[in-house]
Symmetry: D2
Subunit: 146 residues, 4 copies
Amino acid sequence: MMSLLHDVLQLRVRYSETDQMGTFYNSRALEWFECGRTELMRRRLGLSYAGLEAKNIFLPLVEAHLEYAGGARYDDLLAITTTLAAAGRAKLRFDVRIAQQANGKPVVRGYTLHAFTDAAGKPIRPPAWFIEQLHRAAEPASDPLT
Amino acid sequence: MMSLLHDVLQLRVRYSETDQMGTFYNSRALEWFECGRTELMRRRLGLSYAGLEAKNIFLPLVEAHLEYAGGARYDDLLAITTTLAAAGRAKLRFDVRIAQQANGKPVVRGYTLHAFTDAAGKPIRPPAWFIEQLHRAAEPASDPLT
Amino acid sequence: MMSLLHDVLQLRVRYSETDQMGTFYNSRALEWFECGRTELMRRRLGLSYAGLEAKNIFLPLVEAHLEYAGGARYDDLLAITTTLAAAGRAKLRFDVRIAQQANGKPVVRGYTLHAFTDAAGKPIRPPAWFIEQLHRAAEPASDPLT
Amino acid sequence: MMSLLHDVLQLRVRYSETDQMGTFYNSRALEWFECGRTELMRRRLGLSYAGLEAKNIFLPLVEAHLEYAGGARYDDLLAITTTLAAAGRAKLRFDVRIAQQANGKPVVRGYTLHAFTDAAGKPIRPPAWFIEQLHRAAEPASDPLT
Protein backbone atom coordinates (compact mmCIF):
# COMPACT_ATOMS: atom_id res chain seq x y z
CA MET A 1 0.00 0.00 0.00
CA MET A 2 2.92 2.30 -0.70
CA SER A 3 2.43 5.67 -2.30
CA LEU A 4 3.18 5.12 -5.91
CA LEU A 5 2.88 8.21 -8.03
CA HIS A 6 1.84 11.81 -7.78
CA ASP A 7 1.17 14.72 -10.07
CA VAL A 8 0.09 18.35 -9.83
CA LEU A 9 -2.38 19.88 -12.27
CA GLN A 10 -3.34 23.54 -12.44
CA LEU A 11 -6.85 24.48 -13.37
CA ARG A 12 -9.03 27.59 -13.17
CA VAL A 13 -12.52 27.65 -11.65
CA ARG A 14 -15.06 28.14 -14.43
CA TYR A 15 -18.04 30.45 -14.04
CA SER A 16 -20.25 27.44 -14.74
CA GLU A 17 -18.76 25.77 -11.66
CA THR A 18 -19.80 28.50 -9.22
CA ASP A 19 -23.14 28.65 -7.45
CA GLN A 20 -25.18 31.40 -5.82
CA MET A 21 -23.11 31.12 -2.63
CA GLY A 22 -20.26 32.60 -4.70
CA THR A 23 -17.93 29.65 -4.37
CA PHE A 24 -17.78 26.42 -6.45
CA TYR A 25 -20.73 24.04 -6.25
CA ASN A 26 -19.77 21.00 -4.18
CA SER A 27 -20.07 18.34 -6.92
CA ARG A 28 -17.53 20.09 -9.18
CA ALA A 29 -14.74 18.83 -6.92
CA LEU A 30 -15.38 15.30 -8.17
CA GLU A 31 -14.95 16.56 -11.74
CA TRP A 32 -11.63 18.18 -10.76
CA PHE A 33 -10.58 14.90 -9.13
CA GLU A 34 -11.19 13.29 -12.54
CA CYS A 35 -9.00 15.89 -14.28
CA GLY A 36 -6.26 15.21 -11.74
CA ARG A 37 -6.19 11.46 -12.21
CA THR A 38 -6.45 11.73 -16.00
CA GLU A 39 -3.30 13.86 -16.09
CA LEU A 40 -1.47 11.71 -13.52
CA MET A 41 -2.06 8.67 -15.72
CA ARG A 42 -0.95 10.48 -18.85
CA ARG A 43 2.14 12.12 -17.40
CA ARG A 44 3.37 9.54 -14.89
CA LEU A 45 2.21 6.29 -16.41
CA GLY A 46 2.37 7.27 -20.04
CA LEU A 47 -1.11 6.00 -20.68
CA SER A 48 -4.33 7.72 -21.45
CA TYR A 49 -7.45 6.64 -19.65
CA ALA A 50 -9.18 6.86 -23.04
CA GLY A 51 -6.64 4.31 -24.28
CA LEU A 52 -7.36 2.03 -21.33
CA GLU A 53 -11.04 2.02 -22.19
CA ALA A 54 -10.15 1.21 -25.78
CA LYS A 55 -8.46 -1.93 -24.35
CA ASN A 56 -11.68 -2.78 -22.50
CA ILE A 57 -10.36 -1.75 -19.09
CA PHE A 58 -12.65 0.55 -17.14
CA LEU A 59 -12.12 2.15 -13.75
CA PRO A 60 -15.57 3.06 -12.41
CA LEU A 61 -15.79 4.73 -9.01
CA VAL A 62 -16.87 2.55 -6.15
CA GLU A 63 -16.34 5.13 -3.42
CA ALA A 64 -15.57 8.82 -3.05
CA HIS A 65 -14.88 11.00 -0.06
CA LEU A 66 -14.59 14.78 0.08
CA GLU A 67 -13.72 17.26 2.81
CA TYR A 68 -14.38 20.87 1.98
CA ALA A 69 -11.82 23.15 3.59
CA GLY A 70 -12.17 26.52 1.92
CA GLY A 71 -13.79 28.47 -0.87
CA ALA A 72 -12.65 28.92 -4.45
CA ARG A 73 -14.13 31.63 -6.61
CA TYR A 74 -14.57 32.04 -10.33
CA ASP A 75 -11.21 32.28 -12.13
CA ASP A 76 -9.17 31.26 -9.07
CA LEU A 77 -6.18 29.18 -10.10
CA LEU A 78 -6.17 25.86 -8.25
CA ALA A 79 -3.44 23.26 -7.77
CA ILE A 80 -4.73 19.70 -7.80
CA THR A 81 -2.29 17.25 -6.27
CA THR A 82 -3.19 13.66 -7.08
CA THR A 83 -1.46 10.66 -5.60
CA LEU A 84 -1.97 7.10 -6.78
CA ALA A 85 -2.07 5.86 -3.23
CA ALA A 86 -2.77 2.20 -3.50
CA ALA A 87 -2.71 -0.40 -6.19
CA GLY A 88 -4.18 -3.58 -4.84
CA ARG A 89 -5.21 -6.58 -6.87
CA ALA A 90 -8.64 -5.26 -7.62
CA LYS A 91 -8.78 -1.58 -6.70
CA LEU A 92 -7.03 1.71 -7.36
CA ARG A 93 -7.15 4.63 -4.96
CA PHE A 94 -6.36 8.23 -5.82
CA ASP A 95 -5.81 10.70 -2.98
CA VAL A 96 -6.42 14.30 -3.93
CA ARG A 97 -5.65 17.67 -2.38
CA ILE A 98 -6.88 20.83 -4.00
CA ALA A 99 -5.44 24.15 -2.85
CA GLN A 100 -5.31 27.73 -4.05
CA GLN A 101 -2.26 28.05 -6.28
CA ALA A 102 -1.60 31.61 -5.10
CA ASN A 103 -1.26 30.97 -1.39
CA GLY A 104 -1.61 27.27 -0.76
CA LYS A 105 -4.90 27.64 1.12
CA PRO A 106 -6.68 24.28 1.18
CA VAL A 107 -9.91 23.97 -0.79
CA VAL A 108 -10.86 20.26 -0.84
CA ARG A 109 -9.22 17.00 0.02
CA GLY A 110 -10.48 13.50 -0.48
CA TYR A 111 -10.08 10.33 -2.44
CA THR A 112 -11.71 8.16 -5.05
CA LEU A 113 -11.64 4.37 -5.05
CA HIS A 114 -11.96 2.55 -8.37
CA ALA A 115 -12.70 -1.01 -9.44
CA PHE A 116 -11.36 -2.67 -12.57
CA THR A 117 -14.15 -3.76 -14.89
CA ASP A 118 -14.80 -4.50 -18.53
CA ALA A 119 -17.15 -2.38 -20.66
CA ALA A 120 -20.14 -4.35 -19.35
CA GLY A 121 -19.23 -3.53 -15.75
CA LYS A 122 -18.01 -7.03 -14.89
CA PRO A 123 -15.08 -6.99 -12.43
CA ILE A 124 -11.80 -8.01 -13.98
CA ARG A 125 -8.25 -8.42 -12.73
CA PRO A 126 -5.92 -5.63 -13.77
CA PRO A 127 -3.73 -7.01 -16.58
CA ALA A 128 -0.15 -7.83 -15.72
CA TRP A 129 1.26 -5.18 -18.08
CA PHE A 130 -0.77 -2.53 -16.27
CA ILE A 131 0.58 -3.52 -12.85
CA GLU A 132 4.12 -3.65 -14.24
CA GLN A 133 3.75 -0.23 -15.78
CA LEU A 134 2.62 1.10 -12.39
CA HIS A 135 5.62 -0.36 -10.65
CA ARG A 136 8.11 0.82 -13.28
CA ALA A 137 6.71 4.33 -13.00
CA ALA A 138 6.63 4.39 -9.23
CA GLU A 139 9.11 6.73 -7.59
CA PRO A 140 11.77 5.18 -5.35
CA ALA A 141 10.52 4.29 -1.89
CA SER A 142 12.78 6.97 -0.45
CA ASP A 143 10.84 9.70 -2.26
CA PRO A 144 9.45 12.01 0.42
CA LEU A 145 5.87 11.96 -0.88
CA THR A 146 3.34 13.96 1.00
CA MET B 1 -44.35 22.64 -41.11
CA MET B 2 -47.48 22.55 -38.97
CA SER B 3 -47.25 22.57 -35.24
CA LEU B 4 -47.66 18.98 -34.23
CA LEU B 5 -47.54 18.40 -30.53
CA HIS B 6 -46.94 20.27 -27.35
CA ASP B 7 -46.44 19.53 -23.68
CA VAL B 8 -45.77 21.42 -20.45
CA LEU B 9 -43.33 20.16 -17.84
CA GLN B 10 -42.79 21.69 -14.42
CA LEU B 11 -39.34 21.64 -12.92
CA ARG B 12 -37.55 23.37 -10.05
CA VAL B 13 -34.20 25.15 -10.41
CA ARG B 14 -31.54 23.16 -8.58
CA TYR B 15 -28.89 24.83 -6.46
CA SER B 16 -26.30 23.17 -8.70
CA GLU B 17 -27.80 25.05 -11.66
CA THR B 18 -27.26 28.52 -10.19
CA ASP B 19 -24.09 30.55 -10.58
CA GLN B 20 -22.51 33.41 -8.68
CA MET B 21 -24.74 35.93 -10.47
CA GLY B 22 -27.58 34.38 -8.44
CA THR B 23 -29.58 33.16 -11.41
CA PHE B 24 -29.23 29.90 -13.41
CA TYR B 25 -26.06 29.39 -15.42
CA ASN B 26 -26.79 29.84 -19.12
CA SER B 27 -26.00 26.28 -20.29
CA ARG B 28 -28.58 24.74 -17.92
CA ALA B 29 -31.34 25.90 -20.23
CA LEU B 30 -30.21 23.34 -22.81
CA GLU B 31 -30.55 20.63 -20.15
CA TRP B 32 -34.08 21.82 -19.37
CA PHE B 33 -34.87 21.76 -23.10
CA GLU B 34 -33.85 18.09 -23.01
CA CYS B 35 -36.19 17.39 -20.07
CA GLY B 36 -39.00 19.08 -21.98
CA ARG B 37 -38.62 17.04 -25.16
CA THR B 38 -38.12 13.77 -23.25
CA GLU B 39 -41.49 14.26 -21.52
CA LEU B 40 -43.23 15.44 -24.69
CA MET B 41 -42.15 12.24 -26.42
CA ARG B 42 -43.23 10.07 -23.52
CA ARG B 43 -46.59 11.76 -22.90
CA ARG B 44 -47.67 12.76 -26.39
CA LEU B 45 -46.07 10.14 -28.57
CA GLY B 46 -46.07 7.28 -26.12
CA LEU B 47 -42.44 6.55 -26.72
CA SER B 48 -39.38 6.96 -24.62
CA TYR B 49 -36.30 8.45 -26.15
CA ALA B 50 -34.37 5.70 -24.35
CA GLY B 51 -36.52 3.22 -26.28
CA LEU B 52 -35.74 4.98 -29.56
CA GLU B 53 -32.02 4.62 -28.93
CA ALA B 54 -32.57 0.94 -28.16
CA LYS B 55 -33.99 0.70 -31.71
CA ASN B 56 -30.82 2.35 -33.07
CA ILE B 57 -32.49 5.71 -33.73
CA PHE B 58 -30.61 8.69 -32.34
CA LEU B 59 -31.57 12.36 -32.43
CA PRO B 60 -28.35 14.34 -31.93
CA LEU B 61 -28.55 18.13 -31.90
CA VAL B 62 -27.43 19.88 -35.03
CA GLU B 63 -28.44 23.37 -33.94
CA ALA B 64 -29.66 25.19 -30.85
CA HIS B 65 -30.79 28.73 -30.24
CA LEU B 66 -31.50 30.43 -26.94
CA GLU B 67 -32.85 33.85 -25.96
CA TYR B 68 -32.56 34.71 -22.31
CA ALA B 69 -35.46 36.84 -21.15
CA GLY B 70 -35.37 36.81 -17.37
CA GLY B 71 -33.81 35.32 -14.28
CA ALA B 72 -34.73 32.17 -12.41
CA ARG B 73 -33.42 31.57 -8.94
CA TYR B 74 -32.77 28.46 -6.91
CA ASP B 75 -35.99 26.55 -6.14
CA ASP B 76 -38.11 28.63 -8.54
CA LEU B 77 -40.76 26.50 -10.18
CA LEU B 78 -40.53 26.73 -13.97
CA ALA B 79 -42.99 25.76 -16.70
CA ILE B 80 -41.29 24.35 -19.79
CA THR B 81 -43.56 24.41 -22.83
CA THR B 82 -42.20 22.26 -25.63
CA THR B 83 -43.69 22.11 -29.10
CA LEU B 84 -42.68 19.61 -31.73
CA ALA B 85 -42.69 22.26 -34.38
CA ALA B 86 -41.57 20.53 -37.50
CA ALA B 87 -41.14 16.99 -38.67
CA GLY B 88 -39.43 17.06 -42.00
CA ARG B 89 -37.91 14.10 -43.76
CA ALA B 90 -34.61 14.33 -41.99
CA LYS B 91 -34.93 16.72 -39.08
CA LEU B 92 -37.01 17.35 -35.97
CA ARG B 93 -37.38 20.76 -34.36
CA PHE B 94 -38.53 21.42 -30.82
CA ASP B 95 -39.55 24.95 -29.88
CA VAL B 96 -39.28 25.72 -26.19
CA ARG B 97 -40.53 28.45 -23.91
CA ILE B 98 -39.56 28.50 -20.27
CA ALA B 99 -41.44 30.77 -17.88
CA GLN B 100 -41.90 31.22 -14.15
CA GLN B 101 -44.82 29.01 -13.13
CA ALA B 102 -45.95 31.51 -10.48
CA ASN B 103 -46.46 34.52 -12.71
CA GLY B 104 -45.73 33.54 -16.28
CA LYS B 105 -42.65 35.75 -16.54
CA PRO B 106 -40.51 34.56 -19.45
CA VAL B 107 -37.13 33.04 -18.64
CA VAL B 108 -35.78 31.52 -21.87
CA ARG B 109 -37.08 30.73 -25.30
CA GLY B 110 -35.42 28.92 -28.11
CA TYR B 111 -35.31 25.76 -30.16
CA THR B 112 -33.26 22.69 -30.85
CA LEU B 113 -32.91 21.05 -34.24
CA HIS B 114 -32.15 17.33 -34.42
CA ALA B 115 -30.93 14.95 -37.09
CA PHE B 116 -31.86 11.28 -37.32
CA THR B 117 -28.80 9.04 -37.08
CA ASP B 118 -27.83 5.53 -36.10
CA ALA B 119 -25.59 4.80 -33.11
CA ALA B 120 -22.51 5.47 -35.22
CA GLY B 121 -23.74 8.93 -36.13
CA LYS B 122 -24.60 8.09 -39.73
CA PRO B 123 -27.68 9.97 -40.99
CA ILE B 124 -30.73 7.78 -41.46
CA ARG B 125 -34.27 8.35 -42.61
CA PRO B 126 -36.83 8.35 -39.83
CA PRO B 127 -38.65 5.00 -39.99
CA ALA B 128 -42.20 5.01 -41.38
CA TRP B 129 -43.70 3.86 -38.06
CA PHE B 130 -42.13 6.84 -36.33
CA ILE B 131 -43.58 9.34 -38.80
CA GLU B 132 -46.99 7.65 -38.59
CA GLN B 133 -46.91 7.76 -34.80
CA LEU B 134 -46.17 11.48 -35.01
CA HIS B 135 -49.09 12.10 -37.29
CA ARG B 136 -51.51 9.97 -35.30
CA ALA B 137 -50.55 11.85 -32.14
CA ALA B 138 -50.72 15.29 -33.71
CA GLU B 139 -53.55 17.46 -32.51
CA PRO B 140 -56.15 18.53 -35.09
CA ALA B 141 -55.10 21.46 -37.21
CA SER B 142 -57.76 23.59 -35.55
CA ASP B 143 -56.07 23.22 -32.17
CA PRO B 144 -55.14 26.75 -31.02
CA LEU B 145 -51.52 25.97 -30.26
CA THR B 146 -49.41 28.76 -28.92
CA MET C 1 -27.97 11.44 17.50
CA MET C 2 -31.43 10.02 16.86
CA SER C 3 -32.82 9.78 13.39
CA LEU C 4 -35.05 12.77 13.00
CA LEU C 5 -36.78 12.99 9.69
CA HIS C 6 -36.90 11.26 6.39
CA ASP C 7 -38.37 11.77 2.94
CA VAL C 8 -38.44 10.01 -0.44
CA LEU C 9 -38.11 11.91 -3.70
CA GLN C 10 -38.51 10.42 -7.15
CA LEU C 11 -36.39 11.70 -9.98
CA ARG C 12 -35.44 10.61 -13.48
CA VAL C 13 -31.87 10.41 -14.76
CA ARG C 14 -31.33 13.13 -17.36
CA TYR C 15 -29.41 12.51 -20.56
CA SER C 16 -27.06 15.29 -19.48
CA GLU C 17 -26.23 13.26 -16.37
CA THR C 18 -24.99 10.20 -18.25
CA ASP C 19 -21.44 9.70 -19.45
CA GLN C 20 -19.80 7.56 -22.10
CA MET C 21 -19.79 4.54 -19.80
CA GLY C 22 -23.58 4.58 -20.25
CA THR C 23 -24.44 5.15 -16.61
CA PHE C 24 -24.64 8.45 -14.65
CA TYR C 25 -21.43 10.41 -14.15
CA ASN C 26 -20.25 10.06 -10.56
CA SER C 27 -20.59 13.72 -9.51
CA ARG C 28 -24.32 13.83 -10.39
CA ALA C 29 -25.07 11.86 -7.24
CA LEU C 30 -24.11 14.90 -5.15
CA GLU C 31 -26.63 16.97 -7.13
CA TRP C 32 -29.33 14.35 -6.45
CA PHE C 33 -28.38 14.44 -2.75
CA GLU C 34 -29.11 18.18 -2.90
CA CYS C 35 -32.53 17.57 -4.48
CA GLY C 36 -33.30 15.07 -1.72
CA ARG C 37 -32.46 17.39 1.18
CA THR C 38 -34.21 20.37 -0.44
CA GLU C 39 -37.47 18.38 -0.60
CA LEU C 40 -37.03 16.90 2.88
CA MET C 41 -36.74 20.42 4.28
CA ARG C 42 -39.75 21.64 2.34
CA ARG C 43 -42.04 18.69 3.06
CA ARG C 44 -41.00 17.66 6.56
CA LEU C 45 -39.84 20.92 8.09
CA GLY C 46 -42.09 23.26 6.18
CA LEU C 47 -39.18 25.47 5.22
CA SER C 48 -37.48 26.15 1.97
CA TYR C 49 -33.71 26.22 1.90
CA ALA C 50 -34.07 29.33 -0.26
CA GLY C 51 -36.00 30.89 2.63
CA LEU C 52 -33.23 29.94 5.08
CA GLU C 53 -30.66 31.75 2.96
CA ALA C 54 -32.96 34.77 2.86
CA LYS C 55 -32.67 34.76 6.69
CA ASN C 56 -28.86 34.66 6.36
CA ILE C 57 -28.55 31.02 7.35
CA PHE C 58 -26.41 28.94 5.01
CA LEU C 59 -25.63 25.24 5.14
CA PRO C 60 -22.42 24.71 3.14
CA LEU C 61 -21.04 21.19 2.83
CA VAL C 62 -18.08 20.35 4.98
CA GLU C 63 -17.93 16.68 4.10
CA ALA C 64 -19.48 14.23 1.65
CA HIS C 65 -19.20 10.50 1.26
CA LEU C 66 -20.46 8.33 -1.57
CA GLU C 67 -20.56 4.60 -2.20
CA TYR C 68 -21.53 3.56 -5.70
CA ALA C 69 -23.50 0.32 -5.72
CA GLY C 70 -25.07 0.05 -9.15
CA GLY C 71 -25.72 1.74 -12.45
CA ALA C 72 -28.56 4.03 -13.43
CA ARG C 73 -29.24 4.77 -17.06
CA TYR C 74 -30.87 7.67 -18.86
CA ASP C 75 -34.56 7.98 -17.98
CA ASP C 76 -34.39 5.47 -15.10
CA LEU C 77 -36.70 6.48 -12.30
CA LEU C 78 -34.80 6.73 -9.02
CA ALA C 79 -36.02 6.86 -5.43
CA ILE C 80 -33.91 9.13 -3.23
CA THR C 81 -34.41 8.45 0.46
CA THR C 82 -33.00 11.22 2.61
CA THR C 83 -32.78 11.08 6.38
CA LEU C 84 -31.88 14.03 8.56
CA ALA C 85 -29.68 11.87 10.68
CA ALA C 86 -28.14 14.20 13.19
CA ALA C 87 -28.75 17.70 14.38
CA GLY C 88 -25.93 18.67 16.64
CA ARG C 89 -25.16 22.17 17.89
CA ALA C 90 -23.18 23.12 14.84
CA LYS C 91 -23.70 20.54 12.14
CA LEU C 92 -26.46 18.81 10.15
CA ARG C 93 -26.02 15.42 8.56
CA PHE C 94 -28.18 14.00 5.80
CA ASP C 95 -27.95 10.28 5.05
CA VAL C 96 -28.99 9.35 1.54
CA ARG C 97 -29.84 6.12 -0.25
CA ILE C 98 -30.61 6.13 -3.94
CA ALA C 99 -32.20 3.08 -5.50
CA GLN C 100 -33.98 2.10 -8.69
CA GLN C 101 -37.67 2.82 -8.18
CA ALA C 102 -38.69 -0.17 -10.30
CA ASN C 103 -36.93 -2.90 -8.37
CA GLY C 104 -35.22 -1.36 -5.37
CA LYS C 105 -31.71 -2.09 -6.68
CA PRO C 106 -29.23 0.16 -4.86
CA VAL C 107 -27.47 2.85 -6.87
CA VAL C 108 -25.63 5.10 -4.40
CA ARG C 109 -25.53 5.61 -0.68
CA GLY C 110 -23.73 8.23 1.31
CA TYR C 111 -24.07 11.32 3.40
CA THR C 112 -23.40 15.02 3.44
CA LEU C 113 -22.34 16.97 6.52
CA HIS C 114 -23.20 20.68 6.69
CA ALA C 115 -22.05 23.60 8.82
CA PHE C 116 -24.21 26.58 9.77
CA THR C 117 -22.76 29.84 8.47
CA ASP C 118 -23.82 33.33 7.51
CA ALA C 119 -23.61 34.62 3.94
CA ALA C 120 -19.95 35.50 4.47
CA GLY C 121 -19.14 31.92 5.46
CA LYS C 122 -18.63 32.69 9.17
CA PRO C 123 -19.81 29.83 11.42
CA ILE C 124 -22.97 30.61 13.36
CA ARG C 125 -25.09 28.74 15.84
CA PRO C 126 -28.33 27.44 14.45
CA PRO C 127 -31.11 29.74 15.70
CA ALA C 128 -33.36 28.39 18.46
CA TRP C 129 -36.46 28.49 16.24
CA PHE C 130 -34.72 26.27 13.70
CA ILE C 131 -33.81 23.65 16.30
CA GLU C 132 -37.34 23.78 17.73
CA GLN C 133 -38.83 23.32 14.29
CA LEU C 134 -36.63 20.27 13.78
CA HIS C 135 -37.76 18.72 17.02
CA ARG C 136 -41.43 19.47 16.44
CA ALA C 137 -41.23 17.82 13.04
CA ALA C 138 -39.27 14.79 14.22
CA GLU C 139 -41.09 11.50 14.17
CA PRO C 140 -41.62 9.70 17.50
CA ALA C 141 -38.52 8.00 18.85
CA SER C 142 -40.20 4.65 18.38
CA ASP C 143 -40.29 5.10 14.61
CA PRO C 144 -38.18 2.26 13.19
CA LEU C 145 -36.18 4.42 10.84
CA THR C 146 -33.28 2.86 9.10
CA MET D 1 -19.07 46.16 -36.42
CA MET D 2 -15.45 45.40 -37.27
CA SER D 3 -13.80 42.31 -35.89
CA LEU D 4 -11.91 43.49 -32.87
CA LEU D 5 -9.98 40.79 -31.11
CA HIS D 6 -9.45 37.08 -31.21
CA ASP D 7 -7.81 34.37 -29.16
CA VAL D 8 -7.30 30.61 -29.27
CA LEU D 9 -7.62 28.45 -26.17
CA GLN D 10 -6.81 24.76 -25.97
CA LEU D 11 -8.86 22.54 -23.73
CA ARG D 12 -9.42 18.82 -23.27
CA VAL D 13 -12.86 17.19 -23.16
CA ARG D 14 -13.52 15.96 -19.63
CA TYR D 15 -15.13 12.60 -18.94
CA SER D 16 -17.85 14.50 -17.07
CA GLU D 17 -18.65 16.32 -20.30
CA THR D 18 -19.41 13.19 -22.31
CA ASP D 19 -22.79 11.52 -22.47
CA GLN D 20 -23.99 8.03 -23.36
CA MET D 21 -23.81 8.81 -27.09
CA GLY D 22 -20.03 8.84 -26.59
CA THR D 23 -19.50 12.45 -27.59
CA PHE D 24 -19.81 15.63 -25.48
CA TYR D 25 -23.25 16.56 -24.16
CA ASN D 26 -24.62 19.51 -26.13
CA SER D 27 -24.78 22.05 -23.28
CA ARG D 28 -21.04 21.73 -22.52
CA ALA D 29 -20.29 23.80 -25.62
CA LEU D 30 -21.73 26.86 -23.86
CA GLU D 31 -19.33 26.25 -20.97
CA TRP D 32 -16.42 26.04 -23.42
CA PHE D 33 -17.61 29.29 -25.02
CA GLU D 34 -17.30 30.84 -21.54
CA CYS D 35 -13.73 29.55 -21.16
CA GLY D 36 -12.89 31.03 -24.53
CA ARG D 37 -14.17 34.54 -23.79
CA THR D 38 -12.67 34.54 -20.28
CA GLU D 39 -9.21 33.92 -21.76
CA LEU D 40 -9.72 36.36 -24.64
CA MET D 41 -10.51 39.08 -22.12
CA ARG D 42 -7.53 38.21 -19.94
CA ARG D 43 -4.98 37.85 -22.74
CA ARG D 44 -6.12 40.42 -25.27
CA LEU D 45 -7.75 43.06 -23.09
CA GLY D 46 -5.67 42.59 -19.99
CA LEU D 47 -8.72 42.37 -17.80
CA SER D 48 -10.27 39.56 -15.91
CA TYR D 49 -14.01 39.10 -16.08
CA ALA D 50 -13.86 38.53 -12.32
CA GLY D 51 -12.32 42.00 -12.06
CA LEU D 52 -15.11 43.47 -14.18
CA GLU D 53 -17.72 42.07 -11.82
CA ALA D 54 -15.80 43.52 -8.89
CA LYS D 55 -16.32 46.91 -10.60
CA ASN D 56 -20.07 46.18 -10.80
CA ILE D 57 -20.03 45.45 -14.54
CA PHE D 58 -21.77 42.23 -15.53
CA LEU D 59 -22.12 40.67 -18.97
CA PRO D 60 -25.11 38.31 -18.79
CA LEU D 61 -26.05 36.35 -21.91
CA VAL D 62 -29.04 37.59 -23.81
CA GLU D 63 -28.71 35.24 -26.73
CA ALA D 64 -26.73 32.16 -27.75
CA HIS D 65 -26.55 30.18 -30.94
CA LEU D 66 -24.85 26.85 -31.56
CA GLU D 67 -24.27 24.70 -34.63
CA TYR D 68 -22.95 21.24 -33.96
CA ALA D 69 -20.64 20.07 -36.72
CA GLY D 70 -18.84 17.04 -35.38
CA GLY D 71 -18.14 14.88 -32.37
CA ALA D 72 -15.51 15.28 -29.69
CA ARG D 73 -14.67 12.43 -27.40
CA TYR D 74 -13.25 12.23 -23.91
CA ASP D 75 -9.69 13.57 -23.74
CA ASP D 76 -9.78 15.03 -27.26
CA LEU D 77 -7.80 18.27 -27.40
CA LEU D 78 -9.94 21.10 -28.75
CA ALA D 79 -9.00 24.52 -30.09
CA ILE D 80 -11.50 27.22 -29.16
CA THR D 81 -11.18 30.29 -31.35
CA THR D 82 -13.04 33.25 -29.89
CA THR D 83 -13.51 36.55 -31.67
CA LEU D 84 -14.88 39.66 -30.04
CA ALA D 85 -16.97 40.41 -33.08
CA ALA D 86 -18.94 43.48 -32.17
CA ALA D 87 -18.81 46.13 -29.51
CA GLY D 88 -21.91 48.24 -29.82
CA ARG D 89 -23.13 50.77 -27.28
CA ALA D 90 -25.01 48.20 -25.27
CA LYS D 91 -23.99 44.74 -26.36
CA LEU D 92 -20.94 42.53 -26.85
CA ARG D 93 -20.86 39.60 -29.22
CA PHE D 94 -18.37 36.75 -29.14
CA ASP D 95 -18.12 34.45 -32.16
CA VAL D 96 -16.73 31.03 -31.40
CA ARG D 97 -15.38 28.14 -33.45
CA ILE D 98 -14.38 24.93 -31.78
CA ALA D 99 -12.35 22.40 -33.73
CA GLN D 100 -10.25 19.33 -33.08
CA GLN D 101 -6.70 20.51 -32.40
CA ALA D 102 -5.21 17.45 -34.08
CA ASN D 103 -6.79 17.79 -37.51
CA GLY D 104 -8.87 20.95 -37.56
CA LYS D 105 -12.17 19.09 -37.90
CA PRO D 106 -15.00 21.39 -36.86
CA VAL D 107 -16.91 20.54 -33.68
CA VAL D 108 -19.15 23.51 -32.86
CA ARG D 109 -19.57 27.06 -34.02
CA GLY D 110 -21.80 29.76 -32.67
CA TYR D 111 -21.95 32.99 -30.79
CA THR D 112 -23.04 34.54 -27.54
CA LEU D 113 -24.54 38.00 -27.20
CA HIS D 114 -24.12 39.84 -23.91
CA ALA D 115 -25.74 42.88 -22.28
CA PHE D 116 -24.00 45.24 -19.89
CA THR D 117 -25.72 45.31 -16.50
CA ASP D 118 -24.97 46.08 -12.87
CA ALA D 119 -25.09 43.40 -10.18
CA ALA D 120 -28.86 43.83 -9.87
CA GLY D 121 -29.32 43.10 -13.58
CA LYS D 122 -30.17 46.69 -14.53
CA PRO D 123 -28.84 47.61 -17.99
CA ILE D 124 -25.93 50.04 -17.92
CA ARG D 125 -23.80 51.71 -20.54
CA PRO D 126 -20.34 50.27 -20.87
CA PRO D 127 -17.95 52.68 -19.13
CA ALA D 128 -15.76 54.85 -21.37
CA TRP D 129 -12.53 53.26 -20.10
CA PHE D 130 -13.82 49.85 -21.12
CA ILE D 131 -14.61 50.95 -24.67
CA GLU D 132 -11.22 52.66 -24.91
CA GLN D 133 -9.45 49.55 -23.71
CA LEU D 134 -11.26 47.56 -26.40
CA HIS D 135 -10.17 49.95 -29.11
CA ARG D 136 -6.58 50.15 -27.91
CA ALA D 137 -6.36 46.36 -27.93
CA ALA D 138 -8.03 45.92 -31.30
CA GLU D 139 -5.82 44.73 -34.08
CA PRO D 140 -5.33 47.06 -37.05
CA ALA D 141 -8.24 47.15 -39.45
CA SER D 142 -6.04 45.56 -42.09
CA ASP D 143 -5.69 42.38 -40.04
CA PRO D 144 -7.29 39.60 -42.11
CA LEU D 145 -9.39 38.24 -39.27
CA THR D 146 -11.94 35.61 -40.08
